[in-house]
Symmetry: C2
Subunit: 154 residues, 2 copies
């Protein structure tokens, strides 16, 4: 049937960031809902963030628009413009190429759930705003790497 069976959605948790940058993201888990429906033009991930967990290190994308919608809980959205609280029903968008990194931090004692939408471009690369790290292109063929901002690998 057309309804997405969540049990069929590719699932994962944690982070592939090199240590210690993975630490704030260890309590993160996701279901790839768009992939479960065979979609390829954009991803839609249902992301659960345990208390104390961040959605990611603060980052921006060169070629991919990104959109987040808070389904449950409360999160602090951090950007160059400061901190804002997002609650269920709040949302934010991050335009490709705008070098203002963002992340969502769950500073509460409750779980939070967000829907994250991102377009898919093999050209996409980006940087992390608060740490000495970037990611290279070719994510979807598995060739993307984390590197220091001088280009040296971790």
């Amino acid at each position: 049937m057309a309804k997405i069976d969540r049990r069929s959605a590719p699932a994962g948790s944690g982070s592939r960031y090199p240590s210690p940058f993975d630490e704030p993201c260890r309590g993160r888990s996701w279901l790839r809902l768009g992939d479960a429906a065979g979609l390829t033009q954009f991803g839609v991930n249902l992301v659960t963030l345990e208390p104390g967990t961040w959605s990611s290190q603060r980052h921006w994308h060169s070629h991919e628009d990104e959109f987040v919608y808070v389904l449950a809980g409360e999160l602090v959205l951090v950007t160059d413009r400061g901190e804002e609280t997002l609650q269920a029903g709040d949302c934010a968008g991050f335009k490709a190429g705008v070098k203002d990194g963002h992340c969502l931090q769950n500073r509460t004692r409750e779980m939070a759930k967000i829907l994250v939408v991102g377009s898919r471009s093999e050209e996409d690369h980006g940087e992390y705003s608060d740490i000495d790290m970037l990611f290279t292109a070719e994510k979807y063929t598995g060739r993307s790497e984390y590197r220091r901002k001088d280009g040296t690998p971790y």
Copy 2:
């Protein structure tokens, strides 16, 4: 700030379908959340469906993936594969080029809310499964038209 101010989101309601095909969609309204954030690679619309209202006539897209997530209420998803009930937290995806039309019908006495994500391609066109209508390409430059399936205009 980065949070989307819903008051700034382009809003609309009803349907541009030729009469009488607009009738089931008159109780439809939307906020273009992705547009409010300046996103261009995909649209994210928060759509409210009053009791008795359909999300659209049943249709498919040639070039655009589409994804819907039910935020509130209960909807019947109609496709060639039959009818399914979707409740808050349920979702479905419709891959570009798959000629199995879909729509969501609110048959309850309560409002329903969905988040609709769609990629954006000027090449996109499609057909309506249950009525003698198609839509031509170039939606985003305003040149798309509704026509009968033999190509004659309405």
